[in-house]
Symmetry: C2
Amino acid sequence: MNIPDSIRIFADEGRGEEFLSNIWGRRPVFTCTIGNTETAKIPGLSAAGAVPEITDRTPAADMELLLYGRCRSIEGVPVTPDGIPTPAIITMSALQLTDMPTMVVNGGTFVRPQTPYVDLGGQGGSDIRTTGPAVQGTEEVFGRAVQLGRSLAGMSDYLVLGESVAGGTTTALAVLAALGYDADGKVSSSLPKNPHPLKAEVVQRAISDSGLEEDPHPLEAIEAVGDPMIPAAAGLAVGAASRIPVLLSGGTQMCAVLAVVKGIDPSVLGNLALGTTKWIIDDRESDILDLVAQCAQVPVLASGLNFSDSRYHGLRVYEEGVVKEGVGAGGSTIAAVASSGGDLDMEVMLSRIEENYQGLCHGR
Amino acid sequence: MNIPDSIRIFADEGRGEEFLSNIWGRRPVFTCTIGNTETAKIPGLSAAGAVPEITDRTPAADMELLLYGRCRSIEGVPVTPDGIPTPAIITMSALQLTDMPTMVVNGGTFVRPQTPYVDLGGQGGSDIRTTGPAVQGTEEVFGRAVQLGRSLAGMSDYLVLGESVAGGTTTALAVLAALGYDADGKVSSSLPKNPHPLKAEVVQRAISDSGLEEDPHPLEAIEAVGDPMIPAAAGLAVGAASRIPVLLSGGTQMCAVLAVVKGIDPSVLGNLALGTTKWIIDDRESDILDLVAQCAQVPVLASGLNFSDSRYHGLRVYEEGVVKEGVGAGGSTIAAVASSGGDLDMEVMLSRIEENYQGLCHGR
């Protein structure tokens, strides 16, 4: 196996190479776990949706894009307030190029996707600042997700585990903080200017009002201050990684998933890697490698997609730190490269992404 | 490939052997599509549930049995009014012995299973005798199921497609009749004495009040007089069978699914077989082979499970025509034999079934 330039390895290079060689040329299943929260609607916190009211529909619309190549729950595609389109355009391109089977998982949403999706009995989450649980029934959702992860492990060589939940870095920060990690100023953002002070304020208030004790159980931390994606994705990882490799695909939100997995079943950590984009690795306003290092010795893989020379402004701005990651964009790209045995190069990826961008965004 | 005595082939022996050789030693995914209808509660029609009120919970409880080995939505297990337990005990045994990955599909229910399940946006069905649609949104459910079938085809060598819907032979009869098949007196029953006159009366009233025209589209026929399992299972079959073999697993209900598939996409029929039990084949009060012959030249495979010598009364009565089939009991047994390359024999199956029976039914 010659690792191409399109994949870079961080954190633990030896285990990163070992993980890659285990998945090289094998057949993955791509899952994307979605969630909604009222937290996402706090003004200034998330860029996943042009206006707060539409953020509820962003995860559903992302899933429709992955499965049907067009959104059904909204016109056009999800965009940031500046009109920059969803990273699901990257993911859909990776899935298309390798015909990767895909399963949508509903962690808990206000708007259900108009696609087939696996339900785990979860509901949308509250604003984490309010008293009472932020996420209902985390134990049940986690348990069902473990079962689903076991089933999917029987259907695939490895699992790629993406997410779409607006406002998710703030709830990830809250869960990490509740579990005792030093995450302040380290989670990423879909906005070019990361609103760290606002996130810290929201999280501080959420935790102080939560009644959480020191060293809570991970599911209690999620119930108090998390989002509905986290117990579902963590359960999937625990269920699948006892049998097959699992690539946690996302930015710093996946660090919260990793921390929950570690807190519940550290025996599976050796079968995990984190897959993201170089935009997250290179981001100076967050620190994914520090978060992973605090948590567990798992390798971090980054896709080397580069949009500098794209024909489209809406893609070139990714190089300036807009959007960066989401919907498993980085992990699905890595899995596409791996399942092609390294043959898929980033020019072909960019060309497919631009084609999809052109078709969906009318070449803006 | 030496076909063991535990599998018998009917209808088209050559194609049956060809189908079996295509799946021999390969990895299936088992799906079970569930549905509820008000039709199931017409007194005397169905044995799937001790009393009509509990029939709503039967499909959910069956799915819990398959995934967790115990029911959550009811105490004990679903039984007929005479206390004979659900055929899901057979299916769970086949799945356990081969560690077959399983996916629950919700066609449309009043009671959701307390398991992970794929949702297709469907709802529970009305009593087919009432005016107005019996099943809502069949086109949407069918379309999503096609998409799911395509995804599952990327995760497995072949698909085993079971069902659990109480009262399903009556709605199957209604759909077959609406599509012009001569099915009167030919659908099976979970009751030892098949209530054909009652079924015929219900179906006649349903069709005459439905406003259906001659030669309706299959989805219109389901919408008017069917149940929510049929569009979901038919969509799964159409989506998957364009790529991989599909074993329609059930009794005469699967003939309605077959008829719908034929009416919508006959190009996939060559990749289909029907898998059932010898209790259905040998049943003198129904005629599955005639129904299949009217519809399409697909092979019929039957598991040769024999409960004559069982230690338990509740299993021995299967030989007298009680229950007979359901929850993919026949197809899952055939798939278990095929995936073992013929090694799994029926004594081992019976012994596992008895063990599960003992544990779940306290040896009644």
